[in-house]
Symmetry: none
Subunit: 187 residues, 2 copies
């Protein structure tokens, strides 16, 4: 092979190798800016809002999900939602967004070892991997037929299908007295 061609070939191999390493290297932890996604949820057209992982904490939950294990969950909100929670404003004003982040729950042997000395029999559970993230977006005109809320459920940045999103609003109807929001602001 000609010398320049050899060099180009070697260069391309190097580029492809680096690209491959980048593509298949698990991403560094929690860079929320990368989580914004242009793929919208069916029915509601809700996309993942940039930076939501950095929003303020509303509350924490635990779910014993029958047949699907245990989950730890956190609800966070954008500034409009947090202000409404703190001031008790209902219905939530347009622009409010609530995000519910769901993780698997894992036992922490490291924590248990430490806790067991002063408190025998105590067990600590931490978050494992991300399961999904759900959003409620308030737009009283656009989503007038669903209590003013648009819904979205993303797994690994991909929205669930139409059938899944058809279940969102009916499930939230029992919380009508709290503007269809189950979560209360944690003290």
């Amino acid at each position: 092979m000609e010398e320049p061609l050899k060099r180009i070939a070697l260069f391309l191999v190097a580029v492809i190798t680096v690209a491959g390493i980048v593509a298949f290297t698990p991403r560094a932890f929690g860079h929320s800016d990368e989580e914004a996604s242009p793929i919208a949820s069916p029915i509601y057209g809700v996309t993942i809002p940039a930076g939501y992982r950095d929003w303020q904490l509303i509350a924490v939950k635990q779910l014993h999900f029958a047949g699907r294990g245990e989950q730890l969950r956190a609800q966070v909100g954008n500034d409009i939602a947090i202000k409404a929670f703190k001031e008790g404003t209902r219905p939530f004003p347009d622009g409010a967004i609530i995000a519910a982040i769901h993780w698997t729950r894992e036992a922490s042997d490291d924590n248990d070892k430490v806790l067991d000395v002063p408190f025998p029999g105590t067990h600590s559970f931490v978050v494992g991997s991300r399961v999904n993230v759900q959003f409620m977006v308030k737009d009283s005109k656009k989503y007038a037929s669903t209590g003013g809320w648009g819904f979205a459920d993303f797994t690994d940045k991909k929205p669930g299908d139409k059938a899944l999103h058809e279940t969102c609003f009916p499930c939230h109807i029992p919380a009508k007295d709290h503007d269809y929001v189950f979560t209360r602001y944690a003290p």
Copy 2:
């Protein structure tokens, strides 16, 4: 009684006393601005930082606290702490503060009723009342003898006693490889 046993007994008495006070003190709802407190923790002199309830979320935990029920917990951090978590900076830079907010765990009949239709046998747990809040404040010079961290444990805005605060650093030593911090940033 042996000295170590005495210390454990005294510690437990302190904890039970504090728990009793907590259990019978009514609490106002999450107005973070009111939570700043000038009363400093013993040993370390750490006060409640203003606005910590609005800090960004690090992670969520659940604790089966033997003999004292279940807790849901959230760890939040100031901007310096969050940046260090995201970028994997260890040791944490001076000025980093981590807050651990602990609540009682309560079953949510309202949530269960809704969840039981599509997912029979599923149970939801929400936060009840605030139990306590703990802080770790990084100051590598001021707290050089305790890994660069100052500790504080507040119940209803009052710091625990000296005996309680003597237990903070020894318990964190097993996490020395993570700069004495057990909590990992949730994905």
